[in-house]
Each structure stands twice: as C-alpha cells, then as structure tokens.
Symmetry: C2
DNA sequence: TAGACTTATCGAATCGTTTCGATAGATTTA
DNA sequence: TAAATCTATCGAAACGATTCGATAAGTCTA
C-alpha cells in the first residue's frame, strides 16, 4: 500500500512537505506542490485513515446506530441525516446494534472511530451511552430521552399525536372510543394514552370513553382485545377503536372483519406509527406518523453543531417534533368496497 | 481519554506489559495481569481503534456499501451477513453510497478502515472497485459481475427465475403470454427475457408468445404497455402478462383493473423482484424473489474466507443462487374477491 | 556454583500522518 | 553590509497500541 513516505520519496521532498503540499497549502512552492500532487495521483495514494485519525482530533465520521435495517423508518431517518451532513464534510456510517451485537457500538463509539453518534435503538443500554458521553463523545438519541450533558434527544410528540388523532375521531362524529394501550413499561404507550385522555377530557360529550384495554403491541393482542370489546359492550356500543400501535390496529381490523363488521362504516379503527403495511391494508389504516426525515435531519444538525460550534448553544431539553395524522379509509364513513 | 499508558502507569508496569496483560496473555504473572485488567476496567479503558488498526494488519471490520436503506432487501441481506459474521469476530459496518456520496466509499474502502467490503449498489463505479481490489482489499459484489482477481460475485439466477416463472404460467394453462422487458442496458432484464424465451422454446404449444414489449421498469410504462397490449390484440387474446419487474407488473394490474378486466381470472400478471408492495397489492402479485438472506450470508462467508483462509480456495466464477417463485393471487384462476 | 533455562518485565522501534519549531537561503530594510 | 524578514523545506516529536529483542531476576542441571 502506497504511503505518504513513498510519495515524498519520489517527489524528492520530505513527508512533512508532501503532507502539506497535498492539502494545497500555499507554504509549498507552486511547482513542488503540483509535482507532489501529481505523483500522489499517479501512485493512487490515499491517506491512511487510521493514521490520520490517530494524529488528528477529528475523524469527520458520525456513527449511526440502528437496531436493524428493516422498514421505511430508518431509511427516512438516514435520508434526513445524509442531507444535513452532505455539505458539512461529515460522513455517516451505520452500525447495526442487532441481536446481542455489541460489536458495532464497541467498534464505532468506544474505540473512538467516530466524532459523534446518532442512536436509534431503544435497546442500547442507557448507562453505556452515558458512560460514552462522559468520555466526551456527543450523542443524539432518537425517540427516547436521556438527561445527561452531551446527550441530546430528538423525538416525536406522541402525546400530541394521540391527542390530535383523538380530536379528529371526535370531530368525525365518533362518540364512543376504546383505547388499546401497549405494555406497561412503554413510555410511548403511556404518552399516547395521555394524549387520548387529554382530548377526551376536553370534550363536553358524555360517554366517549368506551374503555381502556391493555394490549402488548402485537397483532394478536389487538385481535383478542377486539373480541373482548365486542363481548363487553355489544358490537354497536363502540364507535371507534384507537390502538396504541399499527400492529394492534391491524389485529383489531382483522377481528372485526372476521365477524362481518364493516370498518369505517360501523366502527372506525385508528393506529399509531404508520408502518408500511398500514397503507396497503384493506381498508387502508388511518394512523399517526413520526416525521422521520425531519428527526434525522435535526439529529444530524445537532451533532454537527455540537462538533463545530460551542455546545452551550444547544438545547438541554429534548427537541420534540409534532406527529402527523395520516387519514386513510379505516376512519371514513363512506362505504368501503373491496377490490382494487 | 484514558490511554494504555495511563493504565500501565497506575498499575506500575510498562505499556507493553499492560498491552499483553489485557489480552490475558500467560506471559504476564497472574496477579500482575489481574491488577492491570482491574485497573483498566475501573478506568473504563477501551483501546483506541485507530491506533490499533494502524499497528495491526487487520481491523476486524467489513464495510457494507448499500445504495440506500429502503426496502426489505437490504435488511435481509444484512441479516445474512450478520449471522455469518456473528461468531467470526468481524463486525459489519454499513456505508451509504447514496446520491453523489463519495464519502462512504472513500472513508471505508480507500482510507483502509475495513478489511474487506461487500458492495450492493449497481451505481458504484466498476473501475473504482477494481482499483481498490488491486490494492489488496477483498471485495464481494452482489447482483453484478466483475471479473477481477480479488473481486467475488454473488448473485441470483435471473434467467432461471424467469424460466421457472414462465414454466409455471404454462403449467397453469396460460397459453398466450406477453413479456414486458426493462431498459435495453439492463443485464437483469436481458437475463429475464432469456429465461422467458427458453421456457417458451421448450414447449410444444403454438402461439404462446403474445409479443415482447419494451418497458423501462416504471409503473407508468407497465400501465401504458398494458393498454397497448389490449389495443394490439384485443383483450381476450392475451392470457398472461409477465413483466420484468414488479413496478411494471403493478402498472399492468392497474390498467387492467381500470378497464374492468379481472386479474387472475381473465388475465394473469407475473412480476419480478418481490418488492414489499407486491404482497399487499390487490390481488397480491405473483412474482419471483431473490434469496437475499442467502446471498448476504454467502457474501459474508466469501469475505471471511478471503481474509482467513487461502484465497485460492475461493470461486473465480460468480456464485449463483436460484430464485424463488412466489405464487400469489394475480396468477390464480380462482375468482378473486375484494375485501380484507 | 558456574552455566543453561525459565519467567516476568521492559525499552525501543514501528505503523502513517500531522504538526511544530528549526534552518538554511533569498530578499528586503536601515 | 549587518540586521531583520520572508520563503521553502526539513527533522523530530507526537498520536496510542503492538511487537520484538533485550534484560534482569529466579530455577534448575551437572
């Protein structure tokens, strides 16, 4: 592998001169500089990243830690990250913190191969992140909150998203709404439930809450609870079911469809997350979406600013983005007909 | 940041002793070794990756270059890669070679931050890859073929996939089949067309080829060509349409549905690729899928072997995986009914 | 107990780049 | 023309870990 030393040797200069010449520094006489650059090019010289990183402070690389690569989620987040970083000289590098893979976190963050990190994986240990931040690496966590100097949070406002979704249901005339929550330890589920309750509390109407059921974010649990709702209240007592995530909402739709209840007309179903399947389900699922692109863009912005500017200008509180209501067929009273 | 020197200092040994002690080397007396390890742990010492990479030959990191992160494709490939690498000590790191982003390729491959690379992006310049391989970095390219020592290809057998799909259509009793190709410069499209032709050539039946139309892989082109097919031949002369990719097949379904032709019953539609939407379309699209997990797993296997074993044991020809026919509703004569 | 081996540790060199202070030589200033 | 100022380049010291060949001890053989 051709090294700077070899380039310098052939150009008849010292490595130090070659080094600054290659950066186009005017301290080197023009013809020397051009000769060095030409020889480097001819030899296909590219500086060794490890050596440079070792010597320099900055690496110009940002680590992005994802749980896996599935879904349009991550792809959108990364688009936002890339757009923000494109002209800033930083390159995002993605590591998968998948099943038991301590590898990427170690290699990228602990072994100091990056200047900063964006972490989108609820399973990455909070204490580990705090320890890393204390070592001086700026971290942006997405969709969770960690209060620690050097760790910045960017997230969607789940409470507000659920609030608006509920308001929409009420405005559309759905009177009696049941809510299916996620597991108890899910802060997202809690926030969504809180938004639902706030919207209901504001309305003057009576009997709008048809019960709060505890699910576990799986399609099966949604399905089971839908049957339970029907048993509990008779199929015409509930106007709408708001599930704390799309998987459960799909389960609910399945259950209703199986007993012949027409979704949209007889009962509305609202999901949360806007997973890809939501738009292909029949009827297409009305749901609430996180602005993933914006979140990625903003996360990248925070990291870049933490590295370039003075960190005191950065927010200490989580940056919260509003969620978007995506209205589809499952909450529309117009008759839904099958087929393409 | 705590360095080896600091650990050594506190343990009262030299950095060299600390270095081997931390690796559990028996050359260091047991109590010294344990003391060093304990101090390193207490100080939160993690070796600096750049320094280690610089000194060592291997980095234990494999670069994975993807075009973007969308779709279940990449996610499946990466699952395969991770499973293969999990116990081998290598960590895959993903770079996006997205729009004009020369960054990831430079940072990972050129600047020698990885031991090997898996490239799944048709747009990464072939010459650039050859140059990198000549510098000694083993590369596995997916879904394309580059003949060069040090570059290994893993791909699906598109010709065979199309052959089987066509055979299936013939077996199901579809007599008159039209084919919609992709753009002329697509080798995939060519291979798929070749498989289609080979299957037709083998059959004794007459008039089975209802024409070959030139599309451009977009849904719109599929739609337009479907109308053209109907104009050309009358809507009952064509039994089936085989599009060289799913997008076009969806366009074809749309066109037929718009004029009231019942897909599956009056005309079968076959796609290629099994993009995610295929299974959610109504009717769900019969298509041909690449075994992405296997491809990823095998790519990782090749890279690991290139780095660990003797390279002469590796295949010089592209490793080709059979494609899988995914039968869904769009080629089934049973009456399709809308609804969930 | 001198010589041969082991054992435990260390010092110095190395990986490839960058950076800082030094040094000639050329040029300007007083 | 001696002193001051540039200009172009170089040498050496980092960065942090690894590695190899010393080097002291301590243990064993004859």
């Amino acid at each position: 592998m051709v090294s700077l030393r070899e380039v310098a040797l052939r150009a008849g200069v010292s490595p130090s001169t070659a080094s600054i010449a290659l950066r186009g520094d005017k301290r080197v006489k023009t013809d020397t500089r051009e000769r060095v650059i030409e020889i480097a090019h001819a030899l296909g010289y590219v500086p060794n990243g490890s050596a440079r990183d070792l010597k320099r402070k900055s690496k110009q690389i940002i680590g992005v830690l994802l749980h896996d690569l599935g879904g349009p989620f991550y792809s959108e987040v990364l688009r936002g990250i890339q757009h923000r970083m494109h002209d800033s000289g930083f390159t995002p590098i993605v590591g998968c913190s998948a099943p038991g893979n301590h590898g990427a976190l170690t290699r990228l963050l602990l072994e100091q191969r990056v200047d900063g990190a964006i972490v989108l994986d609820p399973l990455v240990d909070k204490e580990a992140l705090i320890r890393i931040a204390r070592r001086g690496l700026p971290i942006v966590v997405l969709d969770r909150e960690i209060s620690e100097s050097g760790i910045y949070s960017v997230m969607a406002n789940h409470e507000q998203g659920a609030y608006h979704a509920t308001q929409y249901l009420l405005e559309e005339g759905f009177r009696s709404i049941a809510f299916i929550s996620g597991p108890d330890d899910s802060t997202h589920s809690k926030a969504r439930l809180a938004g639902f309750c706030r919207a209901l509390a504001q309305t003057r109407q009576r009997g709008v809450c048809a019960g709060i059921y505890a699910g576990n974010f799986t399609e099966d649990s949604g399905c089971e609870i839908a049957y339970q709702i029907m048993r509990d209240q008779g199929r015409h007592r509930v106007d709408a079911v708001f599930a704390a995530n799309d998987e459960m909402a799909l389960g609910v739709m399945k259950a209703f469809a199986d007993v012949g209840v027409v979704i949209g007309q007889e009962v509305a179903v609202m999901g949360f997350d806007d997973i890809l399947i939501a738009q292909y389900a029949r009827p297409a699922l009305t749901t609430v979406r996180q602005p993933m692109y914006d979140i990625g863009y903003h996360a990248a912005d925070l990291i870049c600013r933490a590295l370039v500017q003075d960190r005191s200008s950065l927010p200490t509180e989580a940056v919260v983005f509003p969620m978007q209501l995506v209205v589809r067929e499952s909450t529309k009273k117009t008759t839904f007909e099958g087929g393409i």
